[in-house]
Symmetry: C2
């Protein structure tokens, strides 16, 4: 770990967390994971905008000055060429009751080195029985309540590298760690946010730049069978950027290389 900042100060070793902090008790909070390259947090404004909008939706009012102070302090800890900045906001301690008013949110920054080369360039997916709930705001917010993705990921261990999650209507939503894109000719499709997905930052960058890169990009409802009929299937997230999908369950998927797209994505700030 390069550094940890919690509720006002840099800390070494364990956090001093209230035993009733709702982040720990109830998964009641939000997070962001941000790629840091040589001390620069990538797409920081976009991550902070998403966190800010989600915080407003959940009523998690973080003091902007404290936030800025913590962010500045943690970034001074940067020491490795590739790091992950994680920002965690919890509802902190409240009176009893699920709807009790927020008093003092907890704020945690951590910076951890990682090796991007360790991420595989391609993955095999297996369809999980766990569905994304497009009828809950949590499906489009990056909340601490991550158990469904964990159960899905555990379910496919030994038969694939990641789980494909459908929504409760049986359409393609996402993988446990990324958004799904499907390429057919020059048409690039990805499920809309209403399908039960997190609006990923890498996803947004691709949608934003697709036309300039020669693609016709659309948010669409995607049936699982469309993955087998595509020229390429790939996952996106802020750390891995673009990961090709070579297999879905026991069938071959994709085929066209997506390395170019990864390079394009790396080049935009």
């Amino acid at each position: 770990v390069s550094g940890v900042w919690f509720n006002g100060e840099l800390v070494e070793g364990p956090l001093a967390l209230a035993p009733t902090d709702r982040g720990l008790m109830l998964g009641d909070g939000l997070f962001e994971t941000i790629a840091v390259r040589s001390g620069t947090a990538m797409w920081l404004d976009e991550h902070l905008a998403r966190l800010s909008a989600a915080s407003a939706e959940l009523g998690l009012d973080v003091d902007a000055d404290v936030f800025g102070l913590g962010l500045g302090r943690i970034m001074q800890c940067s020491e490795a060429p590739h790091e992950i900045l994680r920002i965690t906001v919890t509802r902190g301690v409240t009176p009893r009751g699920l709807a009790a008013p927020t008093q003092a949110p907890s704020l945690l920054f951590s910076l951890t080195p990682f090796e991007p080369a360790k991420f595989p360039p391609s993955v095999r997916l297996a369809t999980s029985t766990v569905r994304r709930n497009e009828f809950a705001p949590s499906s489009r917010l990056k909340t601490l309540s991550y158990i469904d993705a964990i159960v899905a990921a555990r379910e496919v261990v030994g038969k694939a590298d990641d789980a494909l999650m459908l929504n409760t209507s049986g359409r393609v939503a996402c993988s446990t760690v990324g958004n799904v894109f499907v390429l057919k000719g020059k048409t690039l499709m990805t499920p809309a946010v209403g399908e039960g997905i997190l609006p990923g930052i890498a996803r947004a960058k691709i949608l934003q730049h697709a036309a300039a890169w020669g693609f016709d990009a659309r948010e669409e409802q995607i049936e699982p069978c469309a993955l087998l009929d595509a020229d390429a299937v790939f996952l996106t997230n802020s750390l891995r950027l673009v990961t090709a999908v070579t297999q879905v369950d026991d069938k071959t998927a994709g085929g066209v290389s997506v390395i170019d797209l990864k390079k394009k994505l790396e080049s935009i700030s």
Copy 2:
């Protein structure tokens, strides 16, 4: 707080929690809340059986000796006539990756005084737009990933006392803090576990004793309109036992008193 026990010892003040503990990072864990009356944990075997089954399902392997030691130690802290024992198990710290193998789960016991008289004898419900996901195991496990219930509870503040949650198929599931029962004549109905509900301990006790108490109890699919047509609607949980529902959205519900049922439930161990 009467007492807190964390990973091997009684603690005062904050916990020393690893900043990467998956309970805090990902809502990756389970809990139980148990009524304690004059130092006796009620329905303890049933709560521990549910926790044990859920732990096995999530691969959270807690050392039974450590668990027993902690439980014994926390119960010695009992000092008030009515307390809530909360047991929290998290996946602790693991290597990176959602499906990373569990190494050392964290175990937290806390004992907090409460006044049962403060719970209202009846509540008004408002239907939440947040749906229970009957396509995810988390809907039937008491996991730390509680954000959907929190969002639902927040949604109805100012217009009701608790939120009624439907499942993604639009049928009745539960409230944010209890199972739902519907009484019509002598027929007592409650949604089946497959409808996206936690199999509550008070719920199980009612199903178990219903026949002896003169009811014909069944697990059924329940449409929302059935709540308005019932003789009584009530919620159950381990702390409040039985709470009458008097209103659903802007319509009157129930009518028949459920106080008798509460007394019956209090009398069984």
